[in-house]
Symmetry: D2
Subunit: 366 residues, 4 copies
Amino acid sequence: MAGNTFGKLFTLSTFGESHGIAIGGVIDGCPPGLEISEADLQVDLDRRKPGTSRYTTARREEDEVQILSGVFEGKTTGTSIGLLIKNTDQRSNDYSKIKDTFRPGHADYTYQQKYGLRDYRGGGRSSARETAIRVAAGGVAKKFLKTHLGIEVRGYLSQLGPIKIDKVDHSVTNTNAFFCPDESKLEALDEYMRDLKKQGDSIGAKVSVVATNMPVGLGEPIFDRLDADLAHAMMGINAVKGVEVGDGFATVEQKGSEHRDLMSADGFKSNRSGGVLGGISSGQDLVVHMALKPTSSISVPGESIDINGEAAEVVTKGRHDPCVGIRAVPIAEAMMALVLMDHYLRHRGQNADVQSITPVIPAQSK
Amino acid sequence: MAGNTFGKLFTLSTFGESHGIAIGGVIDGCPPGLEISEADLQVDLDRRKPGTSRYTTARREEDEVQILSGVFEGKTTGTSIGLLIKNTDQRSNDYSKIKDTFRPGHADYTYQQKYGLRDYRGGGRSSARETAIRVAAGGVAKKFLKTHLGIEVRGYLSQLGPIKIDKVDHSVTNTNAFFCPDESKLEALDEYMRDLKKQGDSIGAKVSVVATNMPVGLGEPIFDRLDADLAHAMMGINAVKGVEVGDGFATVEQKGSEHRDLMSADGFKSNRSGGVLGGISSGQDLVVHMALKPTSSISVPGESIDINGEAAEVVTKGRHDPCVGIRAVPIAEAMMALVLMDHYLRHRGQNADVQSITPVIPAQSK
Amino acid sequence: MAGNTFGKLFTLSTFGESHGIAIGGVIDGCPPGLEISEADLQVDLDRRKPGTSRYTTARREEDEVQILSGVFEGKTTGTSIGLLIKNTDQRSNDYSKIKDTFRPGHADYTYQQKYGLRDYRGGGRSSARETAIRVAAGGVAKKFLKTHLGIEVRGYLSQLGPIKIDKVDHSVTNTNAFFCPDESKLEALDEYMRDLKKQGDSIGAKVSVVATNMPVGLGEPIFDRLDADLAHAMMGINAVKGVEVGDGFATVEQKGSEHRDLMSADGFKSNRSGGVLGGISSGQDLVVHMALKPTSSISVPGESIDINGEAAEVVTKGRHDPCVGIRAVPIAEAMMALVLMDHYLRHRGQNADVQSITPVIPAQSK
Amino acid sequence: MAGNTFGKLFTLSTFGESHGIAIGGVIDGCPPGLEISEADLQVDLDRRKPGTSRYTTARREEDEVQILSGVFEGKTTGTSIGLLIKNTDQRSNDYSKIKDTFRPGHADYTYQQKYGLRDYRGGGRSSARETAIRVAAGGVAKKFLKTHLGIEVRGYLSQLGPIKIDKVDHSVTNTNAFFCPDESKLEALDEYMRDLKKQGDSIGAKVSVVATNMPVGLGEPIFDRLDADLAHAMMGINAVKGVEVGDGFATVEQKGSEHRDLMSADGFKSNRSGGVLGGISSGQDLVVHMALKPTSSISVPGESIDINGEAAEVVTKGRHDPCVGIRAVPIAEAMMALVLMDHYLRHRGQNADVQSITPVIPAQSK
């Protein structure tokens, strides 16, 4: 059972390699009647798009998504939605050197061992290129969550290397190439990245996502808790090495009297839990943080081996992000939206909003 | 949970409407190393294709399938395979009349009631148009089954209206537009269909599929028996109303002493079971029959209702098969191939044929 | 992926062998608030129970089901429901002879080949003993369908060997050991079975199940159609070799003008479709028929082989039903109920009936 | 779709409440031929068992697991395995006070809102009581991993409140009630816990699990990566708020030149990745850390609300662990074993070790 389908009721099945003809996917389970257009999805695709700043890969992709089915006269019909994004900038020649060598820190070695062969062009299926489809599908989920339930899902950069970002002003996040929600940190980030680029090195990052205006009751204990499914979703993003819900690892040093969120008739008095109790949403803001490792595609030479196990040196010359964490912001938002959508349907059903199942005619069978 | 994914380990997720931009799908779980090309899949697509004879719909579709991913240098890589077929002949204007009327015997009424709206053009998602993707995906399965396991899956028309076809010569099946395996019945079929066309009516059919050179052991009791999954697959083909494995409904009048297939050191002495015992393949030929109802798209006027429950008369003037059962032959083959592929992987694993998981280097972690 | 779980949203996972300690299962996805007790489930268990008449196996099992979880103060809580039935009558010594011999027509050979070993006592997992849990779980589904949706699921014997039963009076079905809905056929059935017993032989049967008061809209195209899932469910019952929906195999000889169910403002004018259009329930009665083969456990000697492939003669001396089809009636009802329940949840969601998700307190997070 | 099933090919479906009759589960997909007994499973159950030290809850449960099926003559048969543990110490009266009040930091509020009613006795289904079945099932997985693949899964306490444990000696872990792998920290832990108990408070903890002797190739990109599934598994353990693979959150401040694990002909030169590249195991040790929040069941009074939204004070007087993290060690091991088992089957198939599918007899059907 290969793992190219995400979700259980609101599912996304994807395909596509970094340097193939196209990437695409199928959304299944979308409720009928949702107004959606390609323009709705393009917003986040443009946010994720490579080549939008000097801090991300110079690869240029139009990333124009096409909706091939499931939408009729501007509305979803309840049938599956086909999504397609053509690959336009496939410089395969850039990658010929890695055909027989495993780049350290990459999936080259593990794909080769697992499958016995691999599409080595640009990392093939293991490339972050495929996340464009997640972002497109996440756009459908986001639209539903916002218009039908009022839920808003917003991510931001919360740390880049040593630079911690504590102040969160969502109105700032999308005004800069770092998805940084604190204007006062922009200069420091810019300087840090310039230095890094000179070194030919890369850096890790921390990304946070918050859903506001959450309903109570999403999450299916005991295995498919909302937080467990979010952890699965986020750890499944390329380069993510850690996931926290609410106070996360800080809880290790917290006492019970300090951690538990007290309740009053006016609401919860704190939100250390991050909006989940017993795997079910509490109605508080849903708060998730994740750690993204520095990309291994750097121009600093690195010791490795070739396909025969012989020593080989690797220098990555291609177009790569010095901090892959930055572009993960819209991806993380998309994944949270997909999880919430899935859990909404698990809780309420695909057709919960169809007004009635009263038949037009009686079912008199003679 | 919408139902646009088929299979559990070898999965096909499809999308597309009769008159949309394209139909397509994602195959997941295909073992790596299988040699496959678009030409391999085109063979059966051409067999299924409308417009190939006067007995099938006059709609002309090129039905050219494109493999968008998952194949590299002519071989599958173990990653998901994207399939796309563009719709070229979409005469939407033909269908404007049925916008507000439910055609009797069609899914118009049930889609409208289930989803609250529907893509009425050509039946939308409920059209048999989507089966083209099943046939394409079935082509991948068929290729694997044949080259890796020696299994061959072959279907044929076994009855059309009153005309029963008992003699089965697989070499004859594909030489005629009826998929009839008995040359002596061709004239009768031709005549019957000519008469039918004059009446503007349609007729039911019985289709059979046989897999030869079967291994023992495919099928997962107790719910996902091989025969149960075949029944699910076949009953999921448009217009199918009945499914039999082996002797099927004839067993109602059989005695135990007559039905049970005796065994000897030379093999089974009969095959009334149709190749399945306790839900697991016995190594005998796998034999499935199915009944396909006559299409309801006929030019004989029929009483119906409109979207408001008011009486309305329906006459279908479009391009339709007088016997949809005929074209179901390659579809039924594809579905059996998908089921067998899925059960092979459930029994043996996606990577069972990857020679070894011995690592190229030791895993010395310091 | 073994196949011991049935359903997608309303799931039943079962375990247990014919001669093990107990059989049992887990129901997941049951909506909260359903009033249910062991007594509710016992009704159908008693109908299925062996030893209730001279026409079924003489094995005596109390078949007392215990609800271990998921019900609190008489109501389901929305968590998983554990079911347990202890095996009380395990005469393992009866079965020592079949340890090394494959009974023809049974799953002995296929289990041995698939798994490399098998629990040979009474057929182990392949025994119809496990269907008791299906019946218990079906009881939960039936209760919900009836009390929440008004749907009633009723089965009956429609043919036994050459004896066809056309008249259906549901009030008669449960008054006799044959589940025969036509009082006038009881004597013929009795006589036929007496003769059969003398011969030491067995006979096939046809069983029908009907759901009345159906809502429109259940069924998930395109693969998980209601009829496809019913076919899967029914073909997964031990001994079933054929499944029909509505007119089934009779449609092969029907014309379109004859088959299609016309519609008027007063309702459908016929029900040849059996209550399903395009894989979605139409609101008409849901009608399914199935063929059950004669049991291979007969006292007539049969040629077979032993575990080494050597010739061996088999005579079954144990306690077996001469017509396994009879006892399949409550099993078939249970399977239809499980399918309907699953599709209701797929359409409407597990918690559709929970009045509100308005939180008790606001979610004010400070 | 409720979430009481874990895994895709090696599945565990569980049931049972804290104060019900019993807890139990069904394992499906276990390969045939594994030698297993109740004693094998009891080892870890005893490690998890409450009442084994003064630092864990005083509740006394025998936690004796019974294998009800799927094992014959000491070996698994390939069919589903039923597990049952009776609840023996159910002092329901302890819990009557919380019937109408929501304990802060607990799932009382969210269960009540999600389902409209709840089994309030001891937390019902949300109690950690259910993890006993995970441990039992994990025992089956562990046995297979060890005997068939040589993989060993071992957990330990890596931090308790402010006390960090850096030295890992697996031979020490099971010699003390803290699962502490460093003897020199035992006194400090003991002292800390004594103080905590006096305060009536609780504390968080960090737990780590390592699998050694890993094969290369486990993990299904792109959504069901090994690390993503581990994150899902671990975040699904009660009280877990954060999960890391390898260097986890430390990677935020790492540079690419520092993070990437270089490779040589002798093996990897470091293991910052924690044994996963591109979602697939690299053959290096698999390393996972998790944060567990302090239990909210403390005797320090806390502000809350009752079922009507009115203010209420909560003091937990029951038998509770002051540090739930400690007992999570065997649970985390079990979850890792379940994930590895699932991924082994996804990679290799349930019957990969069955020597051959060559039939005993030819399949000559006449």
